[in-house]
Amino acid sequence: MTSSTLTVGERSTVAARPRAPRRRIRVGGAASVILLWVYALAALAPLIIMAFNSLRTEQDLANQPLGLPLHPDFGNYSRAWSEGNFSTYFVNSVVITVFSVVLGTGVSVLAAYPLGRYRFRGRGALSSYFLAGLMLPIRLGAVPVFYLVNSLTQSLPGVDTRFWLICVYAGSGVPFSVFVLTAFFRQLPMELEEAARIDGAGELRIFARIMVPMVRPALTTVALFQFIPLWNDFFFPLVLLRDDQWTLPTGLTRFFGEFESAHATLSAGLVITTIPLVVLFLVATKQIVAGLTAGMSK
């Protein structure tokens, strides 16, 4: 990043100077604090309304669109879970997303290791090849993906179509993961691995026992960053899978047709789709913020 080019010398000289006048800052400061908190409300209000709606009855909601769930009612959730098929969608979402992330991260960490640690012919070209994927809108290949998956299902009828979706998803996570992990591997000191090599450890052993543990924080970031868009995707399951194999976002499109104007039940479906990510976010805010800004440290 550009900031790393700043020299240390300047700092000490500037720090000694007196501070700027305070008062104006305070007035502006109060206004900005208010602005920040008002917007925080605007950012959260729709999500809170969604949660409230999901706990109210249809009747209540139709009479009073904006209101508190004074008598919380979980009937909407059970309706969405059983009648709306969310039990099926939920399991599909978990299975497909988790396996895609594991596979995508697994192959990426394998590939990033030689790209970050070795010199070999074609390394630059290979890095660029992976990097190009960061900008490819993969949905534009939806029609051929459909044919590919179809012919794979035809020639390997024993394999569930969901497996091929997982492959597509895993492939889509490769560019970002390889990019981030390569940078991490590059920064690790050589000494550890040299010591191990002198002890006679093989490449795979060095990789698995020494290198992978060292990039574990990056692995978390990379895994999270595949997880979010895959969990949220509705497009590929819609195109590739049968309806009983659908994930939560795809299932929502059907749910909204069936329950049309039952806004409370629909809200429960939205909450079920969203909760896992919110929990994940609250648990791992730091890694998510780190990942979001990772693209900048080129």
């Binding site: 009828p157 024993g158 104007s261």
Partner: protein
């Protein structure tokens, strides 16, 4: 590393295992037939119907697989392309949308296989290939268009189902004054507006004479009678819900079923779901009176075939699937379908059990008209229905009727060539 390999292997195994049992052939030597439709709301009804079939065909189990209607057109082509594991019998949209499946060879021709003697040509046309004239599906239901009304509100306000346009607008004014939305409809969904136009405008444009004139090239959609019929609908805006262009289809349904609106221009297909979700709602039915300046001086009941059932060319149980579709052309299925799902069956000799449907069906038989934007102009991009709805949306936003007519003509003429002249 070994752990990782084990993980990958485990991953592969868990995925492969459940897939070992293909869904179409279960245990006990029974053949499982998958029937794919866009009617999730009819699941219980269809299961009842197919139970009757399974009783007579003990070797067959019919699996009913509904998909949300708005996704069906996306899902079905993909399902039909599957070489294995696809559905056996599929519900097919009528007229236009059927054609690309026929061209791609996705469906089995049914000529000589099913008995459709005594069926109206007009009905069978919904399931025929436009190029080869062969039959690819067995039509199941006829839909009619008209105005549903809330009997209680009409009684409370002292309103009778109107016979003339003046009575009709007077009733609307009275309702409006009483704080009741006269008519619930959706201006957000183009296809709903197209249905409104068919209901209120058919008499003005000239019904079946106009249809023939356009098909043979004597008239087109810039014709003053047609644009005047568009204007008829636009002039009703004052009786539609506030901000009608923002009202979505389910909102319009709710306005009517919750008693906030007194009338609902729509199809006979609404009656079943309405009475199911709101059992205490008393629904009546009447045909729109002839519009001012109408070319046809009696009410018209417009109708069209809802769709058909066809056999997937990639079906792994083609003969069993054909057997099922054959049954769907019999009065037994037709009557069962009509009474279970409250629909008008296309099978000759059946009667709808529901009194409202009987009324609508009689109207269609006595003074029927074709829903031309679906029946005749549903074969290309853009669909006539969508284009007409788009033109009406623009009119509700202030575009003139003449310009709206030009827009419809532009869309239809992009792919339609008249037969005559």
């Amino acid at each position: 590393m070994r752990k990782f390999c084990a993980l990958v292997a485990a991953l592969g195994a868990t995925l492969a295992l459940p897939a070992c049992a293909p869904s179409t052939s279960g245990g006990g030597g029974k053949v499982h037939l998958t029937v794919e439709t866009w009617r999730p709301e009819d699941t219980a009804g269809y299961q009842k119907i197919f139970d009757a079939y399974e009783k007579k065909h003990p070797k067959v189990v019919v699996d009913y697989k509904p998909i949300k209607s708005t996704d069906y057109l996306t899902v079905l082509p993909n399902e039909l392309k599957k070489a294995t594991g696809g559905p056996d019998v599929v519900q097919l949209k009528p007229y236009g949308p059927l054609q690309s499946y026929i061209k791609a060879g996705n469906l089995v021709p049914l000529d000589g296989q099913v008995n459709v003697s005594g069926w109206q040509d007009k009905v069978l046309q919904a399931a025929k290939g436009k190029d080869d004239g062969k039959l690819y599906g067995v039509p199941y239901a006829l839909q009619t268009l008209g105005i549903l009304y809330n009997k209680k509100i009409f009684a409370d306000q002292g309103i009778q189902p109107p016979k003339t346009w003046a009575d009709f607008t007077a009733a609307c004014d009275k309702l409006k004054k009483a704080g009741i939305t006269p008519m619930a409809t959706s201006g957000l969904q183009p296809w709903v507006l197209a249905i409104d136009h068919q209901i209120f405008g058919a008499t003005r444009e000239g019904g079946n004479d106009f249809e023939q004139a356009v098909l043979t090239g004597k008239k087109d959609f810039t014709d003053p009678d047609y644009t005047a019929s568009l204007q008829t609908v636009a002039d009703l805006k004052q009786y539609f819900p506030n901000q009608v262009t923002a009202v979505d289809y389910p909102d319009a349904q709710t306005l009517f079923t919750s008693g906030k609106a007194a009338m609902y221009p729509g199809g006979s297909y609404e009656i079943g779901p309405f009475t199911k979700t709101t059992p205490d709602l008393q629904i009546g039915w009447f045909d729109a009176p002839p519009a001012p300046g109408a070319k046809v001086n009696q009410p018209l009941t417009s109708g069209y075939v809802d769709g058909s059932f066809g056999v997937n060319a990639h079906s792994e149980h083609k003969s069993e699937a054909l057997e099922l579709v054959k049954w769907m052309a019999t009065p037994e299925f037709g009557q069962l379908y009509a009474s279970t799902l409250k629909q008008i069956s296309t099978v000759p000799g059946t009667t709808p059990g529901d009194p409202l449907l009987t009324q609508a069906y009689q109207g269609y038989q006595q003074h029927g008209a074709t829903y031309i934007m679906v029946v005749d102009f549903g074969y290309g991009n853009p669909l006539g229905r969508d284009q007409e709805g788009l033109a009406l949306q623009k009119m509700l936003g202030g575009t003139s009727a003449a310009d709206a007519g030009k827009l419809v003509q532009k869309g239809i003429s992009a792919w339609f060539k008249p037969s005559g002249g």
